[in-house]
């Protein structure tokens, strides 16, 4: 029962990675990822399970949840409005999911990396020949900053070596 519920939660999170919205509005109070104090407990869980790349996965999840929350609460159409408050709400949403069952982060992390691997293999190497373009595509699809996108790709390449025992 618990497993089924967890699977449903993970699947619903992964479904948020649809095509980016047509219009994204950035409010002036955005400060970038990692400033929220509520992120601390989430990172702690990731560290406990030795999940890598932790920051990239959390950043991506928070951003994609924020887009979804914005669309449901504020804009109701193919437009997203991002501000500090929505980002805080996204962090809180993620924290609540993990509060019920911290182990779910392991499953989210695994699925996220699988999705990244699937996304990379879906790119046409003839068109996306350079790493720079691959980074751009990953950054856009997974709502990541470029350094985090690189970190994620790099972790995927060395996934076997870093997988928790």
């Amino acid at each position: 029962m618990k497993n089924e519920r967890n699977e449903a939660v993970v699947a619903s999170l992964m479904q948020l990675y649809g095509p980016p919205r047509r219009l994204v509005l950035y409010d002036s109070d955005l400060t970038g990822f990692g400033r929220s104090q509520n992120l601390g407990p989430i990172f702690d869980i990731g560290v406990t399970y030795r999940l890598n790349p932790l920051e990239a996965v959390i950043e991506s999840l928070v951003n994609v949840i924020a887009e979804d929350l914005s669309q449901r609460q504020i804009t109701h159409r193919d437009t997203v409005f991002l501000n500090k408050s929505i980002n805080e709400q996204a962090v809180e949403y993620l924290r609540k999911i993990l509060e019920n069952d911290p182990e779910i982060l392991k499953e989210i992390h695994r699925k996220w990396l699988n999705r990244l691997a699937e996304f990379l293999s879906s790119l046409d190497p003839e068109k996306v020949s350079t790493t720079a373009e691959a980074i751009f595509q990953v950054a856009k699809e997974f709502r990541l900053s470029a350094p985090s996108a690189v970190q994620a790709i790099s972790s995927l390449v060395n996934y076997d070596k870093q997988e928790p025992s």
Binding site: L23, L25, Y26, T79, S129, T131, E133, F136, A139
Partner: protein, 410 residues
């Protein structure tokens, strides 16, 4: 000796100030540009002057002059289009600037959509139009013979250079008088002609899109393509002018523009713009990102919107008239343009367009700023960001193919 050493140190200091990499890139672009003329010079030395008469090249020179005028006009019209677009954003802000109206922002965005959409897809549309032009259509016989036209145009220009021989000599003498380095260089160049060609070829490789960027040199089928492209002036002029245009001292207009190629970070861009504006003006900046997703059903509507927009340069409209909906759709889907707008109250301070350049296989970004201070601050922050990116980028393989191979192995 000490004077020479001091001169050398001075030159190094200047190179450091301008940026050594920029100098090397510019030299490489110049080398890429002059390469076909060196080939012509060798042919001239072998077969003699009699085959290089300026009168034989007059139609080619006329065509080149016409092309240069058209290109200049296009650059001017595009720049003024972008300037007017920023003013149009400000106008839309003024139209819907009632804080009491909850629909204020939505009305503003809807107004923007009317003129933002045509701008975001302007380049893919124009490229589709060029493809559709009867002369340049890939299906036409003229297109297949375009390498002969390129060869003739290149010959015409070389014949003109030969005709202006005396003036060029005077120019070389003038350059030689500027610094003792130049006569030494020219002397070396004329004495070691073969070595100079090899050095030019090697330097030019950095910029050759076939050899350097696509990594296809080992493929034998690409060699005829390389030889055919050798005399294509258009690509070389574009690249050289693009490279020279990056030197701020040469182009005044550049004070408001910043270009990045490749551009990799669409997620952080709004925050960088906001930081730059905040640091300079101590005011907050609203940034929005538009993505033009066009489907088959609405492509004709997009074309109509583009043709009817009074702000779109007439030269682009003439070209787009020839564009087929299929080519437009294909180009937009390939380039996937992303457009960013930054406004401070009712002032448009930033306009950015990021799109995929299919020929260079890179994502390119072009940013326009309201003033030089914001541009300067933005570039400073971006420099740090790019440094950070490059540092981590070295951790991954240089191509997607290699990344996928490594993922497959792990």
């Amino acid at each position: 000796m000490s004077v020479m050493l001091q001169d050398l140190l001075d030159i190094i200091q200047i190179l450091k100030k301008i940026g050594l990499l920029r100098i090397l890139k510019t030299i490489s672009a110049i080398a890429w540009f002059i390469l076909p003329f060196l080939v012509w010079e060798n042919i001239r030395q072998s077969i003699g002057n009699v085959y290089f008469r300026v009168t034989w090249g007059i139609p080619g020179i006329a065509l080149l002059l016409f092309g240069a005028a058209l290109a200049g006009l296009q650059v001017y019209l595009v720049r003024s289009y972008e300037f007017r677009l920023m003013k149009r954003v400000e106008h839309a802000r003024n139209m819907f600037d009632n804080p009491a109206d909850p629909e204020n922002e939505i009305k503003f965005r809807r107004e923007c959509e009317n003129f933002i959409a045509p701008y975001a897809v302007a380049e893919p549309m124009a490229m589709a139009g060029i493809r559709g032009l009867p002369i340049l259509s890939t299906h036409s016989k003229i297109y297949n013979l375009s390498w002969i036209i390129n060869l003739y145009l290149s010959y015409s220009l070389f014949a003109l250079i030969g005709f202006l021989h005396d003036y060029i000599r005077q120019a070389i003498l003038f350059i030689s008088s500027l610094h003792y380095f130049f006569p030494t260089f020219f002397e070396w160049m004329f004495q070691n002609w073969f070595l100079f060609i090899i050095a030019t070829l090697l330097l030019s490789l950095y910029y050759d899109p076939i050899v350097a960027l696509r990594d296809l040199w080992p493929s034998k089928s690409q060699i005829p393509l390389y030889v055919r492209g050798l005399f294509n002036l258009e690509g070389r002029v574009n690249l050289l002018s693009g490279e020279l245009a990056k030197i701020p001292a040469l182009v005044k207009e550049l004070k408001y523009v910043a270009r990045y190629r490749p551009f990799v970070d669409p997620q952080t861009l709004p925050i960088i713009v906001q930081r730059a504006v905040q640091n300079i003006e101590e005011r907050s900046c609203n940034v929005s990102r538009w993505e033009e997703v066009v489907d088959e059903e609405h492509i004709k509507e997009h074309k109509d919107m583009f043709m009817k927009d009074p702000r779109v340069p007439w030269i682009a409209k003439i070209v787009v008239r020839w564009a087929s909906p299929r080519d437009i759709l294909k180009n937009i889907q390939e380039s996937r343009p992303l457009l960013y707008l930054g406004t401070v109250e009712n002032r448009c301070v930033f306009l950015g367009l990021i799109q995929y350049d299919n020929r260079a296989k890179l994502r390119v970004a072009k940013f326009y700023f309201d003033n030089t201070n914001i541009r300067g601050e933005f570039m400073l922050i971006m420099k740090e960001e790019v440094k950070r990116q490059r540092k981590v980028e070295s951790a991954v393989a240089p191509s997607l193919r290699e990344i996928m191979e490594k993922i497959g192995r792990s």
